[in-house]
């Protein structure tokens, strides 16, 4: 239950790492996968279960971790004009949580029929 979350190391390096993030840039967070799963479940209310919905609200499942991470951190820390609500929501999470959430959704196959992120994560 305590699998670490795969993620890019820093948001600055995010774009460079986006392709290799899944295999090379792995770092630990102190959050359990259950904790991250609980945090992530809140996103489903607008992005669909496991972030798989598409439509006016963008799909977040399967997007590169570095992209999600830099977006989430920008929503929280920067003045972004291209959001209506994510700036207000991201400020309710710690940076570590946002990074973990980016890794969580990046690991989900947006097309798969599976019910939970665990279905797509490699078995250890």
């Amino acid at each position: 239950m305590n699998r670490s979350i795969r993620r890019a190391v820093t948001p600055i390096m995010g774009t460079l790492l986006s392709l290799g993030a899944a295999t090379t840039a792995v770092a630990e967070t102190n959050l359990s996968s259950e904790q991250v799963g609980l945090l992530a479940s809140a996103c489903a209310n607008c992005h669909g279960t496991d972030g798989r919905r598409s439509g006016s609200v963008p799909t977040i499942a399967g997007r590169p971790a570095a992209v999600l991470e830099s977006r989430l951190l920008a929503f929280k820390h920067e003045e972004t004009s291209d959001t209506t609500i994510m700036d207000r929501i991201a400020k309710g999470f710690t940076d570590e949580e946002l990074v973990a959430l980016a890794g969580h959704f990046a690991a989900i196959d947006p097309e798969a029929e599976g019910d939970s992120p665990a279905d797509q994560e490699p078995q250890e």
Binding site: N45, T84, I85, G92
Partner: protein, 438 residues
Amino acid sequence: MTQHFKGTGISRRQMVKGLGAATLLPLVGGISPFAIGGQHAGKVVVVGGGFGGATAAKYLKRANPAIEVVLVEPAETFYTCPFSNLHLGGLRSMDSIAHGYDELQDRYGVRVIHATAEDIDAAAHTVKLSTGSELEYDRLVLSPGIDIRWNVLEGYDEDAAEKAPHAWKAGSQTEKLRAQLEAMEDGGTFVMVAPDNPFRCPPGPYERASLVANYLAQYKPKSKVLILDAKDNFSKQGLFMEGWERLYGDRIEWVGLSDDGRVTRVDADRLEVETEFGTVHQADVLNVIPPQKAGWIAERAGVTDDSGWVPVKPETFESQQAEDIYVIGDATVAAPMPKSGFCANAQAKVVAVAIAASLESRPAPAAHWTNTCYSLVGPEYGISVAGVYRVKDGVIAEVEGSGGVSPMDAPDTTRALEAEYAVGWYNAICQDTWGTQT
């Protein structure tokens, strides 16, 4: 689990607490009763199939598929209060706000029983159904929504609600009010009686007034909306009033508490209401949103307090008054979280992991909730409020610096985007809760 300890007079939880999980194992033949995929992960009964209950059932199964989950909900089709105002305004069919339980049964293996939970014995851990059968549980989730406090407004009882609908539970009440609005002659007044806090969906009355005004502007342009309010402030007030002025001019009149807005008597036969200081208002269509309380099964379970609502332990939403009963949604005292479908869904997810953890006798992950609440001032004019919450010093608190409402004086493009996102939100949360595909 219950069957293993029948007749011992102590609950499984007490045994776990008293003996420790390790010493418990030999009692059941050396096989961990909590093993994933095993037979004895625990039995959870969920009462209520709305945003809270349906989500709890689904996320319990996602947390541990071995947990036996039974959902008790009388209706085979659930109509959501969110977006029912769009039906009222002629912008959506009832079918488009209807949801069923197929995904919960077919995909997640939840046993759905269409019956009414009539009584709960918290000590015996049983739920009595209208079918006459009785369900045992290890953990119970109550998501009973609201009930109306009849006769608190003098003259407003169940008969009166047939003539002056509340439409605060979606379904036939919504259709009744819609039919009255359609039948109203041009030049009429739609009078809404709005309640004091706390009540289900704080911005709901004002979205309703907006979408009724939108309908009237198009089809009955000489008609008006009058809101008589029992309070002086309401959710997203500045944004609503800005939008009303912009879209509807003076078509919507709001009278707050300080201006004698509090209605104390309703005459549903004459479509009249009287305020605290004796002003009588005549309606052509009368919508009374009355004072509310937790759904009555919460009272039967002994989890409500003098306020009529349910106090819960913030971290887990377990009742403060009855062990192994978790309560979510509008029925709870969860301020600063509002009574919204979004919050019920968010609370359900926290409860699901808390119960899954408690069945394995380990601590629950830290609670965290988000709320986003869109309101449509017009079909292409959306506004929102968001909040993120954690437990701080033993109480639920909004995370400092997070949340808040849409900006004032925003351009039309922002309002249009938020209207689009409102629809996106509705479709997503209904997919997440009932599996409805749109």
